[in-house]
Amino acid sequence: MTAGMLTGRMRVSTDTIFRLRELGIFAALMFCLLFFGVKANNFLTVTNWQDIGTDVAIVAAVAVGETMVVLTRNIDLSVGSIIGLTAYISSNTLQHHHHASLVVIALLAMGVGLLCGLGNGILVALGRIPAIIATLATLAIYRGILFEITNGQNVLASNLPQNFLNLSSRNFAGIPSLAWMAIVVAAFGAALLRWVPWARDFYAIGSNPDAARFTGIPVARRLVAAFMLSGLLAGLGGFMFAARFAGVDATSANGYEFLIVTAVVIGGVNVFGGSGTVLGAMLGAVLVATINDGFTLMRFSQFWQEFFQGAAIVVAVTVDAIMFRKLQDVLRRRRRPELANVGGRR
């Protein structure tokens, strides 16, 4: 089933379905803006949006890496622990070396994240452990390592150099600097998935792992690469986390993996692999952050927020599955009308 075999009309129809998915998120976002704009005080103010921008930046940057992993029909649950681990490492290093260059610290955090991602990738690609189990285990292992190296200590904001603390409060062209970092990461990720052949392979692997193997794609190496990218960006996320929250301890970023997976899945990156865009994931991250912010401003119970986040994953997965089946059905009917309903009920 190559693209050449499809007629122009068919390609339009499949493209439209994917566009509709992103448009749906966009519509939901607009609805939220309208709703909270009317209902919540101070929602449509510049400072509130700068706050949302800073909050969403960490989730968005890590979500780019998570997108790569989910595209290959895998998942990386260990990102929350990697963020915590690298946040502690970067702030603890800065605490002892006040004059260290921030770029070096960011690279250090990304390097540690890369190693964590490499571990995940090896377990999944070479050890053939289902990604959810492998990363659930490394979620506990990386968090355990963090507990061991912190030894109950935490980094206080007062011990950190001023230029690091300024990082999250400074704006460029009205946009918080952390949000700029996320924008750069997202642009980089989108370009990678659009134009770089080995990153395009993620889509191929996700839509059909066996077919990808038979066409000569080195699947194991690509999977390791996807997990390494996810770890790398989680490391960057950890650096941003440390800059944003200043004080870091062993429980930092606990549960962040759910925020990130929610953003990615709501953003239309298919958990069955093979479809989704960085733009969608970014829209998902903004939507989640907007809803959280709006609920907080409306003094809505924080407890319900958690429930809705989980429910949102389920709803997004359900919508995707139904859409995925419709899409397959459309393709099948166009290609071989007599096969239209074979395997329809599955």
Partner: protein, 355 residues
Amino acid sequence: MRLVGRLLLRWEALLVVLIFAAGVWSTTLSPFFLHRANLLDLTTPYAYLGIMAFGLTFVVVAGEIDISVASTMTVSAVSFAQLWHAGVNVWLASLVGLLIAAGLGLVNGVLIAILNLPSLAVTLGTLAAYRGLAYVILGGNARSGFPTSFTNIGGGYIHNELPYALLVLIGTAIVLGVVLHSTRFGRYLYTIGANREASRFSGVPDTRVRVSIFVLSGLTAGVAGIVYLGYFGSVQADAASGSELITVVTAVVLGGVDIFGGAGTMVGVFLALILVAELRNGMQLANVGGAAQDIVVGGLLLGAILAGNVVRAAQERGLPWWRARRPQKEVEKTESHAQISVNPGSETTQGGFTR
């Protein structure tokens, strides 16, 4: 003799050896390890995790996964506590707690089996959603002070020595073991886990069975909630939100249940639970902190799956050094036989017919 050999080669035998090894290690750490009271009490802190693991075994054997069990347990325990606090009879409240747990399992089952969604994604979502639900029900409060007749289930002792929790654990294992290994329902799980398409074509009501396993998994989470309440005597909405889930999954996988479905025994899971309990107990005796224990348990989980994968690969293809030599030897005998042994995946059925 061959029977003895087969028994010795089983995964469960390895677990027994490991349990003895860990026992020897623990004895060197503390002379109190071998006291009867300590041995009987070994699994008490992990009884609720074991009960969840027994329920999860059904799900994993059928080739699915349920990572929402810990959250389900908390919702059930929290609802019980809230009802009891409101003045409902303690037994009625625990019954309602069980029903709620089964209901949450049913939600998972309907989404997965009827809407045909991947169990990983669904239970990942419900893991977060149910945790939120627990917070919605209890907020930031804690509930405690349940009647002793109730807390005895998880924390009481007969003659100050034999914990009720151990009896509940063994009882659950026996009942669920019988269901898994000697009922038609249990057999269905293995066929579904081995090949769902094939089992459907041979008349297994796979949708109904798959819904039931998630209900069962929810129900055992509810039972685990009762034991949890008894052992800890209090509950909060963040109960079992840490390394509990991974301990449950580790017990199942370390017990020899194939993570891809189709194989596994209840005895194995029970032995794995004892091993995990023993290791945690031993590490506590050795003054190893909780975080390091989590690292070890996570490593065990990964190691168990890796070991299973290596064994499976060896069964299918022969060990690397073995594979290199064996075909040449057998080519001398018969051509086709060599082919069979080299590539059983595609040739065994043919070989079976010719024989």
